[in-house]
């Protein structure tokens, strides 16, 4: 039995169907088990060459992708923007063409500009996976958040998820919004109006102005990281005040009508957007998110590898 492909690239969740998102989540399930094996490695992507092209520093996402790739037996090369010709002013398109000339199969790209993953995907034949582009999307993070929610609540339809914090600058928020809405969840965004994007309610989400409202409303909170630069750029007066007004604290959670599941894409600013006792509390699934990240990324790699670049010749019959 075969399943439909995702297409060549994974740029974002906005343009995936509910069926495609479901497929990735369902495929991630068996991959969870691979990481529990004594030998955490299967030969599914043996012989595939994958470049992790990171124009922005990211420890967590890069390591997660690298584990996913290695557990599928792919050969991987990490390219960081510093120390490569990228820092010498080479354009993205030239970098891409050079990599392709070395006959790679897939590129995982993290870039500070929105649209960079699509730009690359439109120009090279290799599969492209977006590991976060500017403020646009971070589809594998959205998927792993959804997988974690599904693990806990069994289904996403009807679930109320509040995405809290700096939605304006967050690619994680956008991927979560698209993915959750497509699978029938209700989504609210909550944060200072200075950090909510213009017209966000037109995406189909509810805007809750205060964190107390989000806590009353939601089944789960996905708490976004607040970058320290936001204060310098004048979006918020101070981190202290942010914590006082918008921080997710155990005091506030204690007033919730039910126990809320707590997600955070990391890395956390403890004491700013989330208090330590919440992050480490019984309803936090922040570490299961990290575990699921590897499974989701394995699923995406596995599914996308189906659309082989066209220089890979030959075709084998399926057994049976």
């Amino acid at each position: 039995m075969t399943v439909p492909t995702l297409g060549k690239d994974l740029v974002g969740l906005e343009h995936l169907s509910a069926g495609q998102i479901q497929l990735i989540l369902d495929t991630a399930e068996p991959f969870k088990e691979v990481s529990e094996r004594p030998i955490k490695k299967v030969p599914a992507l043996r012989g595939k060459t994958i470049v992790n092209l990171f124009f922005e520093s990211s420890t967590r996402t890069r390591i997660s992708f690298e584990f996913a790739e290695k557990r599928l037996s792919a050969d991987t090369v990490n390219v960081a923007a510093s120390g490569s010709s990228v820092s010498k002013g080479e354009t993205l398109v030239d970098t891409a063409r050079n990599l392709e000339a070395m006959r790679i199969d897939m590129v995982v790209i993290r870039h500070h500009s929105s649209g960079a993953a699509q730009f690359l995907g439109d120009r090279i034949r290799s599969n492209v996976i977006n590991a976060g582009d500017g403020k646009h999307e971070h589809p594998t993070q959205g998927l792993l958040d959804m997988l974690t929610l599904r693990d806990h609540f069994k289904k996403l339809a009807g679930l109320k998820v509040a995405i809290c914090g700096d939605v304006l600058h967050s690619r994680v928020a956008r991927s979560n919004i698209w993915g959750l809405l497509k699978l029938g969840a209700e989504v609210a965004v909550c944060g200072p109006p200075t950090l909510l994007p213009r017209g966000v309610e037109q995406l189909g989400v509810t805007v809750l102005p205060r964190i107390e409202d989000a806590i009353q409303w939601a089944d789960a909170l996905n708490i976004l990281r607040l970058q320290l630069e936001r204060m310098e750029a004048g979006f918020i007066p101070s981190l202290r005040e942010y914590n006082r007004v918008f921080g997710v604290t155990s005091d506030r959670l204690a007033r919730a009508p039910k126990d809320l599941l707590i997600l955070h894409p990391g890395p956390m600013n403890r004491g700013v957007e989330i208090d330590s006792d919440v992050a480490d509390g019984p309803h936090s699934v922040i570490l299961p998110q990290v575990t699921n990240g590897v499974a989701v990324r394995m699923a995406v790699l596995y599914l996308l590898a189906g659309g082989a670049p066209d220089w890979v010749s030959g075709s084998g019959g399926e057994e049976r």
Binding site: L92, Q118, K135, R171, P197, G199
Partner: protein, 431 residues
């Protein structure tokens, strides 16, 4: 110079409120006669104008010709060639070159290059401030003496209200308008497209309409304060249109322009991170586009200007954040204006010619914009019904950065005369 007779064209001349089938005779670089059954002199070239429109040559008050500084993207000669191919007989070159056209010598350079190119007339616009740095006034008097027809810091806004005020006051001495690129940079900072639903979805930093409107309002207030003539470049928002409308009702000396891309396209065009849809001011919402169209109809916006902004092909081949703003427009302006404004019935052809020729000539006090007998023969003959597909390789401009490549436009230049010379003749091939 061989006399030339265009026979039986629809002659549209908004300067004289004329519109009817007639012959146009050009002798010695001047309009000799316009009327029925004009007899051609001996050895005259006779062109059949049946079904075509003969009009005063189009005039574009806002182009960027990159010379000096970036001759690989456009020169005054290639820009002037693109202009006549698009039916323009005169264009005004913005001063944001490298070095900036902010002194007498630099202005003189543009004039000399224009004469050497001998295509469209290229009029220099001088900078408002030295180096366009927004601090010290440039020498308006010297520049006007060398041929500048207006001043502008276009490409950059005039941030200082004090500078804008003094520019408007000082320009009155020379009777020239001050053209402003209206943008509050503290509000648009880092923005790459219109702030709205599309920027939210694409995760691109938006430029709110207010960034333009704040400066439009300021410029209008300063025009009232000083009695100077402010010309508002490339208006893009419905709020700006409202402000201009009120200023005109008050009788202030405010004129405004809109570009073909702002009356043809909306911010949805940025979908897929198409860098050919990246401009400043950005493409706005459908309501803004519609307001621009209505303003062109009722005259709140006086003229159409292309904001022709050439970029080397690979400059646009990059991340949206890093791609430069602007598109080439001289060779698509007429076809877009007819397709978007005339065919849907917003403007008549005579109204369009007024917005693209007669009015621009008046605003910047240029010759042209008329087919009056005795006037220099700056004339365009175009087929208003020709449907043609835009091909990047067919541009006369050195650059190809146009979002309209592949689209079908309506209306195409056949012949362009500048001072009676044939500056462009499509029948001679090349296309």
């Amino acid at each position: 110079m061989r006399p030339l007779l265009i026979r039986g064209a629809r002659v549209i001349d908004p300067s004289r409120d004329a519109d009817g089938v007639a012959d146009v005779l050009v002798v010695d670089g001047k309009i000799r006669a316009v009327g029925r059954n004009v007899a051609p002199p001996e050895n005259a070239r006779v062109i059949d104008g049946a079904g075509k429109v003969a009009a005063p040559g189009l005039i574009d008050l806002h182009v960027h010709f990159r010379e000096p500084g970036q001759e690989d993207t456009e020169t005054i000669a290639t820009g002037a060639m693109a202009a006549v191919a698009g039916g323009f007989t005169a264009v005004c070159a913005m001063p944001n070159t490298d070095p900036v056209t902010d002194n007498q010598a630099a202005v003189g350079f543009v004039v000399r290059q224009s004469i050497r190119a001998a295509k469209a007339r290229v009029y220099p616009i001088g900078a408002i401030s030295l180096g366009q740095k927004g601090q010290q006034l440039a020498e308006f008097g010297e520049m006007v003496g060398a041929g500048a027809v207006a001043v502008s810091d276009d490409g950059k806004p005039v941030v200082s209200s004090h500078l804008m005020r003094t520019a408007l006051e000082y320009a009155k001495v020379f009777g020239i308008p001050v053209a402003d690129h209206c943008e509050d940079p503290t509000l648009s900072h880092g923005g790459v497209m219109h702030e709205g639903l599309v920027s939210t979805r694409l995760g691109l930093k938006g430029i709110p309409s207010a960034a333009e409107e704040i400066m439009v309002a300021r410029d209008i207030i300063l025009a009232e304060l000083t009695g100077g003539h402010v010309h508002l470049c490339h208006m893009s928002t419905r709020g700006s249109v409202d402000l201009i409308r009120r200023a005109k009702e008050k009788g202030l000396r405010v004129t405004a322009e809109a570009t073909p891309h702002h009356f043809a396209l909306t911010h949805e065009r940025c979908e897929g991170y198409d860098t050919h849809a990246k401009m400043n001011p950005p493409l706005r919402e459908a309501e803004d586009r519609d307001a621009i169209r209505s303003a062109l109809k009722d005259g709140s916006i006086d003229i159409i200007a292309s904001d022709h902004a050439p970029h080397h092909y690979d400059a646009k081949e990059r991340e949206f954040d890093d791609a430069p703003n602007g598109i080439v427009g001289l060779e698509t302006a007429l076809g877009l204006a007819i397709r978007e404004l005339v065919v849907p019935g917003l403007l008549t052809l005579p109204q369009l010619i007024a917005r693209m020729s007669t009015m621009p000539a008046r605003i910047f006090h240029l010759s042209g914009g008329t087919l009056a007998v005795g006037a220099p023969a700056d004339l365009v003959l175009f087929d208003p019904d020709a449907r043609w597909k835009v091909e990047a390789t067919a541009f006369h401009s050195k650059s190809r950065n146009s979002p309209f490549v592949g689209e079908e436009l309506i209306g195409r230049t056949l012949l362009t005369l500048v001072d009676g010379r044939v500056a462009f003749d499509r029948s001679l091939g090349g296309d």
